[in-house]
C-alpha cells in the first residue's frame, strides 16, 4: 500500500465531499494510481466543503471565503491536488480573485492569520498524470481493447477568468489509448450532465443523461469513462434507458492498467455493474 512506501513524494490533497463519501471508489483508486506514479496524497488537514454549486449560486462572498479557508490550510512548498473538477474550479476562482485584488488578500490575511501563499499551485489529477504517457512502465495491451466513450462533461469549459489555464482535452483518450483501450468518437463528450439539478429537476436531467448514454451506445462504446464523481453519479442514477452502459472513474481504469492493487469493493459501489464487462474483456477474474 502507498502509505508504506518511503520513495513517494508527498503532495497536499483536497478530496472534496463527493470523493470522501459517495464516491469512495474514486478516492481509493485515485490514491493507488498516484502512488504508482510516485505521489503520496496527504489530506489537507481539516478541509471543508469548497462551497459547492450552492454557495456561489446564491452567495458569492460566502463561496469565496469557504474556498479560502481550504487554501489557508495548505502547507507551503507542496502543490495541492484537487480531485473533483468542480471543487478545483471553486478553489482556482478564489485564488484568481486573491491574485487580482489587494483588498481580498488583506481580508484573507486578517481572517486566516497569514498571507495568501502566492506560489500555491492547485493541480488537477490530469496535470499529475499527463507526463506518465510513455514512461516505460506500462503494458501496451493492459486494457485488452476495451471500447470506451471518454466523457468530460463541463470540466473542459473553464470560466472566462481562467481561460488562459491549460485545457486537458483528449487526455483520457491518450492515456487509456497507450494501454490498449479504444476510444470511440462521439458527440457528447463535453455535454453537461445536469449536475445538482438532478435533485430538484430530475425531469430536466433524465433526458440529458439519456441523450448522452444513447450517444455512447450508438457510437459502439462498451462503457463510459469520466473524471468527475458528479457526472458519474448522474450517469448512473438518472438514466431511463433499457440498456445502460457501465461508467468507470478514469482512476479505476488507470489502476487496472497499472496493475495497482484493485479492490473488488470499488466496482460493488457502482449502480450499473461493470464487472460483467471487465470479465468479458479478461480484466478481472
Amino acid at each position: 500500500m502507498s502509505a508504506m512506501r518511503p520513495d513517494l513524494q508527498d503532495i497536499s490533497y483536497f478530496p472534496g465531499c463527493s470523493l470522501a463519501t459517495s464516491a469512495k471508489e474514486n478516492n481509493q483508486s485515485l490514491k493507488e494510481v498516484c502512488a504508482h506514479i510516485g505521489f503520496r496524497l496527504v489530506d489537507l488537514d481539516d478541509w471543508n466543503c469548497c462551497g459547492s454549486s450552492s454557495a456561489h449560486s446564491v452567495n458569492a462572498e460566502l463561496a469565496f471565503h469557504l474556498a479560502c479557508r481550504n487554501l489557508s490550510l495548505a502547507p507551503p512548498g507542496r502543490p495541492l491536488l484537487v480531485a473533483c473538477p468542480s471543487c478545483s474550479t471553486r478553489l482556482r476562482m478564489a485564488q484568481h480573485h486573491l491574485h487580482a485584488s489587494d483588498a481580498a488578500q488583506e481580508a484573507y490575511r486578517r481572517r486566516w492569520g497569514r498571507a495568501a501563499d502566492p506560489d500555491l499551485k492547485i493541480v488537477h489529477f490530469f496535470e499529475l498524470i499527463q507526463n506518465e504517457g510513455r514512461n516505460g512502465t506500462q503494458r501496451a495491451n493492459a486494457l485488452h481493447g476495451i471500447k470506451f466513450a471518454p466523457y468530460y462533461g463541463c470540466m473542459l469549459a473553464q470560466p472566462p477568468a481562467l481561460r488562459h489555464e491549460r485545457n486537458y482535452h483528449g487526455l483520457m483518450e491518450k492515456m487509456l489509448g497507450t494501454f490498449g483501450a479504444q476510444a470511440i468518437t462521439w458527440g457528447y463528450q463535453a455535454r453537461c450532465c445536469g449536475t445538482f439539478l438532478s435533485v430538484a429537476r430530475p425531469d430536466v436531467v433524465t433526458p440529458m443523461i439519456d441523450t448522452i448514454m444513447q450517444g455512447a451506445i450508438d457510437a459502439g462504446a462498451e462503457c463510459l469513462v469520466t473524471a468527475c464523481a458528479m457526472c458519474h453519479l448522474n450517469l448512473e442514477i438518472r438514466c431511463d434507458l433499457k440498456t445502460r452502459l457501465p461508467t468507470f472513474h478514469f482512476s479505476e481504469l488507470l489502476a487496472i492498467a497499472y496493475r495497482a492493487p484493485i479492490q473488488k469493493g470499488w466496482f460493488a459501489k457502482h449502480l450499473v455493474d461493470p464487472v460483467p464487462l471487465l470479465k468479458t474483456r479478461g480484466l478481472v477474474t
Binding site: T21, D46, S54, A55, V58, E61, L62, P159
Partner: protein
C-alpha cells in the same frame, strides 16, 4: 426606458463586474446550453431583460435558477462574457429582494446544502436529501433510488465533519444573508 430601468441594469453590471453590455445577441450561448429546454428566455434573453431594466421579469424567471453554470455558453461566447457569473448575481439579487422565485425547489436545495455546510463544514448528502424532501413535501419520489444508494453505501448515515466548525460558522454568521 425610465431611469429605474437604467438603474437596475447599471446596478447589475457593477455588482457582477461583468460587462454584458458587450453582448451581440448572436445566440452562440443558446446553441450550446444543455438546459435551454427548461428556460423561458434563454441566456441572451436574460441579458436582454437586464439591458431593458425589466427587473421583475428577469428576477422571477426560471432561467436564472435552471442555469447550472457549466460554462458551455461562456466558452462559446465570442465576446467572452461570463454568463454564469451574471446568473449568480441575479440569483443573489432575487433572494435579497424577496422576488417571487419561480424555481423554489432549486433554491430550497441550495439552502439545504448551505445549512449542511454550516452545521458540519462539509455536505452530508443523506441529510440534505431528507430535509429537502420534507421541505418540498415530496417524500416518495426517488425513495427507491435512495434505498439503492444506501445499499451500495453511497450515502453515509453519519456526516463527515470538520474539527474547527467554529471558523466555518463564523463565515456564515458574517456573510449569510
Amino acid at each position: 426606458m425610465t431611469t429605474t430601468h437604467k438603474r437596475f441594469c447599471q446596478a447589475v453590471v457593477e455588482r457582477c463586474g461583468e460587462n454584458f453590455q458587450r453582448c451581440l445577441h448572436c445566440l452562440s450561448c443558446a446553441s450550446g446550453c444543455p438546459v435551454i429546454g427548461a428556460m423561458t428566455y434563454r441566456p441572451n434573453g436574460v441579458i436582454r431583460l437586464v439591458q431593458y431594466g425589466l427587473a421583475q421579469e428577469v428576477l422571477e424567471s426560471p432561467d436564472i435558477w435552471i442555469c447550472v453554470g457549466c460554462n458551455t455558453c461562456a466558452i462559446a461566447c465570442p465576446m467572452a462574457i461570463d454568463i454564469p457569473a451574471l446568473m449568480d448575481t441575479l440569483r443573489e439579487i432575487a433572494v435579497e429582494n424577496q422576488a417571487n422565485i419561480n424555481e423554489t425547489g432549486i433554491l430550497n436545495f441550495h439552502k439545504e446544502v448551505l445549512d449542511s455546510i454550516q452545521r458540519y463544514g462539509r455536505t452530508h448528502k443523506l441529510e440534505i436529501m431528507l430535509r429537502y424532501k420534507v421541505r418540498q413535501r415530496d417524500l416518495f419520489s426517488d425513495m427507491d433510488l435512495g434505498l439503492k444508494m444506501m445499499a451500495k453505501r453511497k450515502l453515509d448515515l453519519l456526516p463527515s465533519r470538520i474539527a474547527d466548525t467554529q471558523s466555518v460558522a463564523n463565515l456564515f454568521k458574517e456573510f449569510n444573508r
